[in-house]
């Protein structure tokens, strides 16, 4: 099977500041990958290149086709993106926002059809936001809003889901809910999932493969116990931690050693 996403010698620079350097990465179909790294290590940039918002130097292939060969409309059926935060200056209801995920599936001159409404409803059910479908997005809490954005992404019926710190503004319960939902989508629908993550412990619990970036380069790529070691955390983040195996899940968990 062809890899869902493949990059070869990918580099990217904002003006003269190089953000990504020579990244070669292959994401298989149906894989679930967490991208780790400190602020400014290139996680967000990498995701933006995958979704063709930014153009990097080097090759990016999706399902064995060059990314340049896709139209925006086709890309939006292949990929859905959940951004770090989404601004909303206009009063749209939750249902309207979720239906926007269907824009590439119906004619730009038509209203949404029956199929679009069904898909939107199913996505809202899955993310547990059907109960407030008629409320305005700007009235919702951060956690509710994020679930709506994920519902919109699911309404796109994507093969690949890209998430940029999907749990950044969520409390612990909602963080865990989001990650459990991602695992379900991955397992039950075979959706390929690539997420940039900050919380290393949650990443270790839920993601079977982790890619650690440092200064725009891939520093480690492998299972949680290969990537999250005391040595790599010290080298990448510059802090001292103690890594222990969680005895139930069998995943490494980090404990911070403070000098105080």
């Amino acid at each position: 099977m062809n890899p869902a996403i493949e990059t070869r010698n990918l580099s990217f620079a904002y003006k003269d500041r190089e953000v990504l350097h020579d990244v070669s990465l292959s994401v298989e179909q149906g894989e679930m990958i967490g991208i780790l790294g400190p602020n400014g290590s290139g996680k967000t940039t990498l995701l933006k290149i995958f979704s063709a918002v930014l153009n990097g130097q080097g090759e990016v292939r999706l399902n064995d086709r060059d990314i340049e060969a896709y139209s925006r409309r086709d890309l939006s059926k292949l990929f859905a993106v959940v951004a770090q935060e989404s601004s909303m200056n206009f009063p749209y209801t939750v249902a309207e926002v979720v239906l926007m995920g269907r824009a590439s599936y119906h004619s730009p001159f038509a209203l949404e059809g029956k199929k679009d409404l069904e898909v939107a409803r199913a996505s809202m059910e899955l993310t547990d936001c059907l109960s407030f479908a008629n409320r305005y997005l700007h009235e919702l809490s951060g956690g509710e809003k994020q679930r709506v954005i994920i519902a919109r992404a699911l309404a796109q019926e994507p093969e690949i889901l890209l998430l940029d710190e999907p749990s950044a503004f969520l409390d612990l319960k909602h963080q865990v809910q989001v990650f459990e939902l991602l695992c379900r989508l991955n397992r039950e629908r075979g959706m390929t999932i690539v997420a940039a993550l900050h919380d290393l412990n949650l990443a270790a619990l839920f993601f079977p493969r982790l890619v650690m970036l440092r200064e725009g380069k891939i520093y480690r790529d492998g299972s949680p116990s290969e990537v999250l070691t005391e040595k790599t955390i010290d080298e990448v983040y510059g802090i001292r931690v103690r890594v222990e195996q969680d005895c139930v899940a069998g995943k490494p968990q980090l404990f911070i050693c403070s000098a105080l």
């Binding site: 904002y14 918002v53 939006s76 601004s87 200056n89 206009f90 590439s104 001159f109 209203l111 796109q156």
Partner: protein, 345 residues
Amino acid sequence: MKVLDRRKMILVNSVLLALLALSIVACTLLGPVRLDLSRALHDLSFANPDSEILFRARLPRVLLGVAIGGGMAACGVVLQALLGNPLACPQMLGVSGGASLGGILGLILFPNWLLPIAGGLLGEISWVPLAAFLGALCSMMLVYRFSLFHGRLHPYHLLLSGVIFNSFIAAVIMFLNSIIDFYQAQGLLFWLMGSLSTRAYLTVAFIWAYIIFGFLWLWAKGLSLNLITLGEEAALQLGVETGALQRQIFIASSLMIGAMVSVSGMIGFVGLMIPHVMRLIVGSDHRLLLPASFLAGGIFLCWADTLARIALAPAELPVGIITAFFGGPFFLFLLYREGRKSLAL
């Protein structure tokens, strides 16, 4: 789950269309001179002063007002969506200032030897709107460029540079005003305040043509406009070619603003007020918001102009003064409400 369906589309648009038709009839009948309708309709010849006033003076003016009110409101809707700023409108962005300057330059620089061939009416419907269109387009792109940093649009910079650009243009226009002759200057001032006056049916028809063309172009982009309000990145990821969309919106709305400004000067606040009110009533889906705002803008300006005609009769106020009387306080109220919202009071 409540979403926009065909029933709501038809209901809202036909109610507004009916109101518009009623307004056109009512506003044509209202005026400083009392008309006898049956006498006016009985004899349609030039000799009948009643029918002359009704069909030669009032009706073309009312029709022009409808086109301009609708066009202003529609441009307000799309600019607000495109710039992600509910406070954007042609005035605030310096676009109508640019259009005025373009139109004035078009008038002043119009080569004299062309006058006998393309002066008068023909210049009014072709040359001046075109110059105003170019002025609008240039200023829109200029203000946009000045608010774009690292590919991101800064709403604060956008409004500020628009306002500053507009004052600069106003100074340039005043300068031009002081170097042209007295008779021309008088007309220019009245025009700058934003006024509707009676025009030939041919002019009215051409303005309608510009505006309907621009409006249909914008309406076809309704779905993309919904998506672009989420921000450029989100719109890209949902399948919108944002660069092409921006260019088309700029061109279509400049075309409309150019045509409007060339006949009526700067009629302010319609493009700010109407989209807001309509968003509260019909929701934010641009596939409905755009036609609804167009119709409501037409209704509003139709009545505002009637008020301008009869308030100080037999003297006449520029309609821009009436819209500003409504629009100024409304804008301050909006600003206050936005401020409260962002402070989460």
